[in-house]
């Protein structure tokens, strides 16, 4: 199994969720994160003090998927998350030796 972690632009979340659901993925876990990268942040002004904010709001989507589909899933996410503008994000793929579903105690691919 693979654990796919995608850092995307927040307004793309719904499309990404839809895309992976269409591939039969039944679950994802989502976290609000701050990204620092090539995409510029913005400046903020508080009573004359100007701050550069380098961090940009991003959304992290994590999915455990079966080895058979991970490439498809990565591709699908990349396709819908792409705007072509800087800051579109990254997808990381990690090997995932073991998964357990808490409710049933199932493990391995059945647990996803």
């Amino acid at each position: 199994m693979k654990l796919i972690t995608a850092i995307i632009k927040p307004f793309k979340l719904d499309e990404v969720r839809q895309a992976v659901t269409d591939l039969g993925i039944q679950g994802v876990t989502v976290t609000e994160v701050q990204g620092f990268g090539r995409q510029r942040g913005h400046k903020e002004l508080y009573r004359g003090a100007e701050y550069r904010v380098d961090f940009v709001p991003k959304t992290k989507v994590e999915l455990a998927v079966d080895d058979s589909v991970w490439e498809q899933v990565v591709e699908a996410i990349a396709n819908v998350a792409r705007t072509g503008k800087v800051g579109d994000g990254k997808i990381f793929v990690l090997g995932l030796p073991q998964v357990l579903r808490v409710r049933t105690g199932e493990t391995g691919p059945d647990a996803i």
Binding site: F11, D14, H42, K43, E44, L45, V53
Partner: protein, 474 residues
């Protein structure tokens, strides 16, 4: 100005044959005013109440309206909304003193006043403004600043319609134009008159009437601003929403209010402040003011209950946003009526507002597919129209209303409900047309010059950081 010299300023009102605001006090105030004698001394209780009312309208605007609106947008845009309300309030206040008061509340033609009181020329702490009781006056400065808060909150109402996407600069230019060419003339048309002391016999009454604003002469009833404030602002908002276009993602992405407790605080402060708005419009602190107060609380309570119950029945969940929206709908609808109807009329108007405004923001908006971000049209314009029409109905003494007061005979005159409803409808129509047209032209001009709409990146990022260089929550 053809007012007697002792009353150095004239005053606004609602309609010629207006009911004396305190019937019980008429015997007292009836004493004919010796026109060449000493000026009347304002009652300190009236002055206290009018100052309280004025600050209540400020409370309604900042923070009330600002929070009500600010809580409803997404968190990336909350400051832009707070900022728009705050700055428009300041801008309109300054314009009011420079030329607004003069254009709205001095004699001129039926649509505009004069420039006689530019920069409040001739107004000082001793000049007076008339009320609705003969011989009863309040300090003109108090009247100036009370009316100034009306002129300041009204343009603020508009911005909710195109929240989350219009440029800050464009909004300010629009408000400058709209304030000047829509608010001031409509206020003059509806509220400018010579005051009750000008009505002594049939001849003076006719002369006095001819000085009034266009809709005043028509006999339209608008106690605290159904036409001048709500319809006026509501239609401007709709035009703006249509011209700037829908928000990115409207209809597909969820755009829930980012902070409903803020919305609730805002709605509550609107309600509390509205007592200044409505009861202050009585200009006196008397028994009739108590009736206006009661009407205001009643209509609002009923509208809230009705809106919430319908949601509960139809959708299964009575919502806090629904309750807050119902309250505002009730407040809007009772505004033109609050000094003309009895408590049972207020109950009826409130109930109607709950039904009709809920219908407007769900069915009608969905049907017509405009993106009025915060339902300025559905609540203020539709609620204002409903209130204006129903004022014509429930002002009827046969329905517990106050009817018309004849300032010459000092008696309540016969009332023709159908005729009055038609007059009310005319006043609605004139306001819709006038404000709609001014808005159309103003938005078009701005669009062609500096542009109305923020860039896509700005809109995605949020107006707060992009236009104002700040984040709401650190």
């Amino acid at each position: 100005m053809k007012l007697p010299t002792l009353a150095q300023s004239s005053s606004s009102g609602s309609a010629l044959r207006r009911i004396a605001s305190a019937l019980g006090l008429l015997a007292v105030s009836f004493a004919p005013l010796a026109l060449a004698g000493t000026p009347p001394t304002p009652d300190k209780g009236d002055t206290a109440w009018m100052m309280t009312s004025t600050l209540l309208v400020i409370l309604m605007t900042i923070p009330g309206l600002a929070l009500f609106y600010g809580g409803m947008v997404r968190s990336k845009n909350v400051l832009s909304v707070l900022m728009q309300v705050f700055i428009i309030f300041c801008l309109a206040t300054v314009l009011w003193v420079i030329y607004g008061y003069s254009v709205a509340f001095t004699a001129g033609n039926e649509f505009f006043g004069s420039f006689d009181k530019l920069f409040l020329k001739g107004v000082d702490s001793t000049t007076l403004a008339a009320t609705f009781s003969k011989g009863v006056y309040i300090p003109e400065y108090v009247y100036v600043v009370f009316q100034g808060t009306f002129a300041a909150i009204t343009p603020c109402l508009i911005v909710g319609a195109f929240a989350e996407r219009m440029k800050f600069g464009a909004i300010l230019v629009f408000i400058l134009l709209w304030f000047t060419f829509a608010y001031l003339p409509v206020a003059h048309m509806v509220w400018y008159w010579d005051g009750p002391d000008a009505y002594t016999d049939a001849t003076t009454a006719a002369t006095a009437l001819s000085h009034g604003g266009y809709l005043f002469q028509l006999g339209a009833l608008d106690f605290a601003g159904g036409t001048v404030v709500h319809i006026n602002a509501g239609i401007a908002g709709l035009i703006g929403a249509l011209m700037v276009g829908k928000r990115l993602g409207y209809g597909t992405a969820a755009m829930p209010p980012h902070n409903l407790p803020l919305v609730m605080i805002g709605a509550s402060l609107l309600w509390v402040g509205w007592f200044g708005f409505n009861v202050g419009s009585n200009l006196e602190s008397n028994g009739f003011a108590g009736q206006v107060f009661l009407n205001t609380v009643l209509a609002t309570a009923v509208a809230t209950l009705v809106w919430t119950l319908i949601e509960w029945a139809v959708r299964g969940t009575p919502t806090m946003l629904g309750a807050a929206s119902g309250a505002v709908a009730g407040l809007v609808a009772i505004t033109p009526a609050c000094g003309w109807v009895g408590p049972m009329g207020a109950l009826a108007i409130g109930a109607a507002a709950g039904v009709v405004c809920l219908w407007a923001v769900t069915w009608l908006k969905h049907k017509l597919k405009y993106d009025d971000s915060l339902d300025v049209f559905g609540v203020h314009c539709i609620g204002g129209i409903l209130g204006a029409i129903l004022t014509g109905v429930f002002a009827d003494p046969a329905l517990g209303g106050a009817g018309f007061y004849d300032w010459v005979t000092m008696e309540v005159a016969p009332y023709d409900m159908t005729a009055q409803v038609i007059i009310q409808a005319k006043a609605v129509g004139v306001t819709l047309l006038w404000s709609g047209l001014v808005s159309l032209v103003a938005f078009k001009l701005i669009d062609l010059t500096i542009g109305l709409r923020a860039s896509e990146e700005t809109e995605r990022e949020g107006l707060d950081t992009a236009e104002h260089g700040e984040r709401a929550y650190g």
